[in-house]
């Protein structure tokens, strides 16, 4: 502040002019950002305190938030969502690190070949990919049952997506294949940025490959790992498309996730206020998870 008051008047005019130009350049982006990101977020927060349905719009305080924890389906959805996150996030991160490190050492051509292949399920899209998985998991003529009965592992055909014990795990497997593409690309790029003189020095000093990795490369790629953890957490928490396409939350709510339940409450039952309250709750959980990961990641360094 005091620095500003010392600046000559002419320069103040200039800086005001620069501010004006800057906002003119920002204007188009801000119109879209405020109009279609900020306004809906604010509306989401406000309406979460209302009993907001087709015919009603009245303030009810935190009642929607209280109702959530008395809603058995919501609690099941919460449990399933957390299970998805707890299983998917570490496996996606560890596996993509392993693949990333392995293909990083390869020839440039094989490296970009594998990078593309692991990205294919993402590019192909959830809808097209789910068509194939639906067939593979099919009870009567699906690939898995044919292979497993053929090998004598199981003697009765399993309805993979129709069985409470397996359905959620099937979803997690598909989610895994559509989630590792981006982390692999990021890890390959991050490993390329590790200062080669440091790893060479360590190897000259007699460090094993394993030691070099943990002592030099792992700390260097930590920011990438954190970023991957956070985006994978956000994506896993929002798992929706696969469930809508494959199980519709069933059987018996065993694949119900918060995101799916929000959609069901808001668009099938028109309970907009209640759906928005669950959305705010989901956003808060994601923020907490991200904050914990950042904290742990920073103290690790």
């Amino acid at each position: 502040m005091s620095k500003n008051s010392n600046v000559p008047a002419r320069s103040k005019v200039l800086s005001r002019r620069e501010t004006r130009t800057a906002y003119l350049f920002l204007l188009p982006a801000l119109v879209f950002f405020i109009g279609f990101v900020i306004i809906p977020m604010v509306l989401c927060l406000i309406t979460s305190f209302f009993n907001y349905t087709m015919g009603d719009f009245s303030f009810i305080g935190i009642e929607n938030y209280v109702k959530m924890f008395q809603d058995d389906i919501f609690l099941v959805a919460l449990k399933n969502t957390i299970l998805i996150v707890v299983v998917a996030v570490p496996t996606v991160t560890a596996f993509s690190l392993w693949v990333g490190a392995s293909i990083y050492n390869m020839h440039a051509i094989s490296r970009s070949f594998f990078r593309c292949i692991f990205y294919l399920p993402v590019v192909t899209g959830s809808v097209a990919v789910s068509v194939v998985w639906k067939w593979m998991f099919n009870k009567y003529n699906g690939l898995f049952n044919n292979v497993l009965t053929g090998m004598g592992v199981i003697d009765q055909k399993i309805s993979w997506l129709g069985d409470e014990r397996f359905a959620l795990w099937c979803i997690i497997v598909i989610l895994f294949t559509t989630s590792i593409g981006q982390p692999i690309v990021l890890y390959v790029a991050a490993l390329g940025n590790v200062d080669p003189s440091q790893t060479e020095a360590a190897e000259v000093d007699g460090a094993t490959k394993f030691q070099t990795f943990w002592k030099i490369k792992w700390p260097a790629i930590m920011p990438t790992t954190l970023y991957i953890l956070i985006i994978t957490t956000i994506n896993s928490f929002q798992c929706y498309a696969l469930i809508q396409l494959l199980t519709s939350g069933g059987p018996n709510h065993s694949t119900e996730t918060i995101m799916y339940y929000i959609y069901y409450q808001a668009f099938k039952l028109n309970n907009y206020g209640y759906g928005n309250a669950m959305g705010i709750f989901l956003a808060i959980i994601i923020a907490i998870f991200s904050a914990i990961q950042l904290r742990v990641g920073k103290s690790d360094n």
């Binding site: 350049f25 982006a29 801000l30 693949v99 294919l120 097209a128 990021l186």
Partner: protein, 277 residues
């Protein structure tokens, strides 16, 4: 020493074999959709999977053409191209301002953009739908395009690229008498071109595949995208696997081809976006 090299060699070979097996598994869905679209019902439902179509048929595509499949494809292209163009224009301007201008409220704005990025964007779909109905845009393609353009990822990406422009060069152009707009178009745009390429391809692919947003916003048959069209076929004619796979191929082949053609830019886009994200 020798045995060390030998174990390293063995390890490399094992890794290569595992990678090749994984690659086959990851490429399988796409392979199966495309080959499946040329099979008849008997071949698709065969107890022993027909790994390659023995008698390829085009019947599935004939039945697909009886549906408005090209209309769905056109809609997907329209939504993706429009979102891509608008995102590139708005983000390159905003990214430049954030990187190269000093202005009041800069820090607050930057923090706001970061916070918005960290939030789950699907959460706001319920109020977004209400907003679109209020604006009379629900069930039009704009209901998908406008929120896509609003997402701040592109601003970050092009801020990263704009930071690479030497400030002295900008000043030199200004001293030569160039106005703000001229500086931007003749100086900034050519320098952030790789960033715009990366953002363009990234936006195109992610918009094409944003099934959830399309599902919420689009209902009428004349605005459906190819993703929604396939999902519709899957729901309405779930036993006609050949038809569904033909639809899935029609949706997947263009986007995969675009990805393979521009994958260099695409990779650059997601890595640059992550640095500060």
């Amino acid at each position: 020493m020798n045995s060390g090299i030998k174990t390293k060699k063995t390890y490399d070979v094992i890794v290569m074999i595992i990678m090749i097996i994984l690659a086959i598994l990851f490429a399988f869905p796409l392979y199966w959709i495309i080959t499946g679209s040329f099979k008849d019902a008997a071949a698709i439902n065969a107890a022993v999977p027909e790994w390659f179509p023995h008698n390829p048929i085009k019947d599935n595509y004939v039945r697909l053409m009886a549906k408005p499949a090209f209309k769905w494809l056109f809609n997907a292209v329209f939504i993706s191209v429009t979102s891509m163009a608008l995102t590139c224009i708005t983000a390159s301007m905003a990214g430049y301002a954030l990187a190269k201008k000093r202005f009041a409220g800069q820090k607050t704005l930057f923090t706001l953009l970061i916070c918005a990025m960290a939030l789950p964007k699907q959460v706001v779909l319920v109020p977004l739908l209400k907003e679109m109905s209020f604006l009379g845009l629900h069930d039009t393609m704009w209901a998908v395009i406008l929120p896509t353009v609003g997402w701040p990822f592109g601003i970050f990406l092009l801020k990263q690229f704009s930071e690479g422009i030497p400030t002295e060069m900008l000043e030199a152009v200004r001293i030569d008498g160039a106005g703000e707009i001229q500086t931007f178009t003749t100086m900034v745009l050519p320098m952030v071109k790789p960033g715009i390429g990366a953002l363009a391809i990234f936006t195109f692919i992610s918009t094409w595949n944003d099934y959830f947003l399309q599902l919420i916003m689009l209902n009428s048959s004349d605005v459906l995208t190819i993703s929604l069209g396939i999902a519709k076929l899957q729901a309405e004619m779930s036993n006609d696997f050949g038809l569904i796979m033909a639809g899935a191929s029609l949706g997947a082949i263009p986007i995969v081809a675009i990805f393979l053609m521009f994958q260099k830019y695409f990779t650059q886009g997601i890595t640059m976006g992550a640095v500060k994200g």
